[in-house]
């Protein structure tokens, strides 16, 4: 094990710090992390600065609008750490830069790359992901939204759900059943769909948090050129799977956990009841420290998974458990945040006396959504036991009658 960053990387860290010292105040006020959705003027400007300095679109070739650096995970770690600890925005992110762009780089045609990558990383074109459907759970291969050929176009009909940022997106990258006669997995294509196509309707899906973090998207014979397929027809399943980009998510999610922990410590230092600070309550503090151990475990686990990737090894079962474990830690951090505020921990929706803009309640509910969404915890556990531990699938039930 060698976690040394070495002189080159320490120099890089100095460089990042210098950048943050000089430019940090131009960042949008949203704090650390990556913004998704429709970027405002300030964010677009900031994003441009970030790309110029190699802190966003870092490894995207320059001809496609990126900074063109060699991949260097350590540098990415350093950027994450420094931006995070300075509380400075990482700029524009979301599913376009994070999922579509790597997919195009690997599977897209030259035309597609030149057309889409630059505007996407600059935040000018916003994307949403069209994978989940009401009946599909995490069994994405069971996607029903279908495309019928009509000349050189497809006519797409069906429904997607849990689509984040759909209401502000210019484009969707979606899994569409284009080959009705092929097998379940071989019948899907990866299609780029303009959201202003007639026949597409977006309905916001409000969740228990009170926000419309998601949407439903309805397709009624929406006409899309067949040339908008990425890769070959019928390869959609494979393409979607190769770019689920674990490493990015894992680094990002452990940074998010770490950020939540810091905020929690801050909250517990400032919040008091009857003159006793939350952090001075032996019970709340004990929970805090156990959660700290879990946050650190996820952090080092992320580094371990990354190392596996770098070495071209499968992380095995250790990779499968990260989502389930991480969401749960995040949920528990929020629960402690609420408890630390006692009765005032229930305040919400911008109420007077609300703390931290209601983030603890919002996060408590949203992380529960993460636990049960995108393939519920139940399905995650099936996957872990079957793929990770080699346990058999449940036998199919007997036919009735």
């Amino acid at each position: 094990m060698d976690l040394n960053f070495g002189p080159e990387h320490e120099a890089f860290r100095t460089e990042v710090r210098a950048f943050l010292a000089e430019h940090g105040e131009n960042a949008p006020r949203a704090g650390a992390g990556v913004a998704a959705g429709r970027a405002g003027e300030g964010l677009l400007r900031w994003q441009k600065i970030l790309i110029e300095h190699g802190y966003s679109a870092r490894t995207i070739p320059q001809e496609y609008g990126g900074y063109g650096a060699e991949p260097d995970i350590l540098k990415r770690v350093i950027i994450d750490e420094e931006f995070n600890s300075a509380g400075v925005s990482r700029g524009f992110g979301g599913q376009g830069p994070e999922m579509l762009v790597p997919t195009l780089l690997e599977h897209g045609s030259e035309v597609q790359k030149l057309r889409w990558i630059g505007p996407t990383v600059r935040g000018e074109v916003v994307w949403c992901q069209g994978y989940s459907e009401p009946g599909s759970g995490s069994d994405l291969a069971s996607v029903q939204t279908r495309a019928v050929e009509d000349g050189s176009d497809f006519l797409i009909s069906g429904q997607k759900i849990w689509t984040t940022t759909a209401q502000v997106s210019d484009m969707m990258f979606g899994l569409i059943r284009t080959e009705p006669k092929a097998s379940k997995h071989a019948g899907l294509s990866y299609v780029l769909i303009p959201m202003d196509t007639p026949g597409i309707e977006v309905r916001p899906l409000v969740t228990m948090t009170g926000e419309a973090e998601f949407n439903e998207v309805f397709f009624t014979e929406a006409r899309v050129p067949q040339e908008n397929v990425v890769g070959k027809r019928g390869e959609g399943w494979k393409i979607a799977n190769t770019t689920l980009a674990h490493e990015r998510n894992m680094l990002a999610s452990s940074a998010v956990l770490d950020g939540a922990l810091r905020s929690l410590v801050k909250r517990m230092r400032s919040e008091s009841s009857n003159g006793v600070r939350a952090i001075d309550s032996p019970l709340l503090r004990d929970r805090l420290i156990e959660l700290q151990a879990r946050v650190l475990a996820m952090k080092y686990h992320g580094m371990r998974m990354l190392t596996s990737r770098l070495k071209g090894r499968s992380p095995g079962v250790a990779g499968l458990v990260a989502k389930l474990a991480g969401c749960e830690v995040s949920h528990q951090l929020s629960a402690l945040g609420i408890d630390a505020m006692g009765e005032l921990g229930t305040l919400y929706e911008g109420s007077p006396r609300e703390r931290d803009r209601g983030r603890w309640q919002s996060q408590y509910m949203f992380t529960l959504g993460l636990i049960i969404g995108g393939g519920t915890a139940q399905i995650q556990k099936n996957i872990i036991s079957e793929r990770g531990l080699g346990m058999p699938r449940e036998p199919k039930p007997q036919a009735k009658g």
């Binding site: 759970g137 759900i161 849990w162 899906l205 409000v206 969740t207 228990m208 009170g210 919040e271 008091s272 009841s273 009857n274 003159g275 309550s281 019970l283 709340l284 629960a335 609420i338 408890d339 505020m341 006692g342 009765e343 005032l344 921990g345 229930t346 305040l347 919400y348 929706e349 911008g350 109420s351 007077p352 006396r353 309640q361 509910m365 529960l368 959504g369 636990i371 049960i372 969404g373 519920t376 915890a377 139940q378 556990k381 199919k396 039930p397």
Partner: protein
């Protein structure tokens, strides 16, 4: 010995459930509270006609003179229906305080109106438990000063029952008097009415009890409230389980209802295994309040602390059983989830209540 609800209590629960199913299903609750949290839209009036307002009010004052167990049955049922209603303040905490410390004249003046629902009394007693942000009410001359947070049923209240710092005095104050300013505190649970009330030289309408002698009445009021909150968690959790089981019996995946999947069944079994013994605990805590005074405070703290632990587990698990749809606003399941979330924190966190229980037993200083 008869450790069970009486026939009358079963009937009360049944008739309240029917009323809520018919008159105030969650769709109506939603419409009522969407704009104004805690807005009961006449539901409280109807509930008072069914006798809910006067459960604890003696018969001579127009109530039915029942006990906290009856009130707990009502609380459980109202939470089962996530009904917005000032049950806690106007039908329990205020009557309990008046009966414990008010004089005959005061009882005769207030209790009948509480029973009919023609008057609502909000409760400014949060600072008996937890002082945050320098809140607390003090007396200067004959005027009240200071802020009380999380005032129960405080926005819609006609009058406020105010516990002075230290709990030695209880004042009844006209909520519309000069020097009283309240603003709504919005919680995750829109079925509740909470306020922050600032007293800036507000006149005391009347004192409840002797000056300096309100401590026992305050404790009594808190004990009752904690049992009611425990019952609230009980009812909300019970409904969450019902909804989860019903959903699982309906929703199909892989050509079978998900209720036939062992993992889903076990989640449901785990929920009910937590709930049912807890129900017995809540019943006993209410009974102790009515009949075993020396155990009342201990049982109230234990019951509320315990329900505050299992309730969040149950509503979370019920949401998990629903899968993604349980997370949507549209499904309404979150009304119960949030109700439990507020109950857990109110009038004593679980840790604080266990510490109180330890103190009551001489386990700690």
């Amino acid at each position: 010995m008869d450790f069970a609800l009486s026939e009358e209590q079963d009937l009360l629960a049944g008739s309240l459930r029917r009323f809520l199913e018919e008159e105030c299903p969650v769709t109506r609750v939603r419409a009522l509270v969407e704009d104004v949290p805690g807005n009961d839209g006449g539901v409280w009036k109807s509930l008072c006609e069914l006798g809910v307002g006067g459960l604890l009010v003696p018969e001579e004052h127009g109530g039915s003179g029942l006990g906290l167990l009856d009130a707990a049955v009502a609380a459980e049922t109202l939470a089962w229906g996530v009904a917005p209603a000032p049950l806690l303040g106007s039908a329990v905490m205020a009557p309990v305080a008046l009966l414990a410390a008010g004089n005959a004249e005061q009882q005769g003046r207030w209790l009948p109106r509480l029973a009919t629902g023609s008057v609502r009394i909000g409760i400014a007693a949060n600072e008996l438990i937890s002082v945050r942000d320098d809140a607390g009410i003090r007396l200067e001359g004959d005027r009240l000063h200071g802020t009380s947070l999380m005032v129960i049923d405080g926005v819609e209240a006609d009058h406020l029952l105010v516990a002075l710092a230290g709990g030695s005095r209880l004042a009844l104050v006209d909520a519309r008097a000069e020097g009283v300013a309240s603003k709504r505190l919005t919680t995750i649970d829109r079925t509740r009415d909470f306020a922050e009330v600032v007293f800036d030289g507000a006149p005391v309408g009347e004192w409840i009890g002797e000056p300096g002698g309100a401590g026992p009445a305050c404790r009594r009021m808190l004990d009752a409230a904690r049992v009611m909150l425990a019952a609230d968690i009980l009812g909300a959790s019970e409904r969450a389980i019902e909804l989860a089981v019903a959903y699982a019996m309906e929703r199909k995946q892989f050509d079978r209802v998900i209720a036939s999947f062992q993992a889903v069944k076990h989640l449901c079994a785990e929920m009910i295994t937590e709930l049912e013994p807890a129900r017995s605990l809540v019943w006993y805590a209410a009974h102790a309040f009515d009949q075993v005074p020396e155990e009342a405070s201990l049982m109230a703290s234990l019951a509320k602390a315990h329900l505050a632990e299992i309730g969040p587990f149950i509503v979370r698990t019920a949401t998990e059983v629903h899968g993604g749809v349980g997370f949507t606003d549209e499904q309404n399941l979150h009304y119960w989830f949030k109700r439990v979330g507020v109950d857990r924190q109110l009038l004593g966190t679980p840790e604080a209540l266990r510490e109180d229980a330890a103190r009551l037993q001489g386990f700690s200083d």
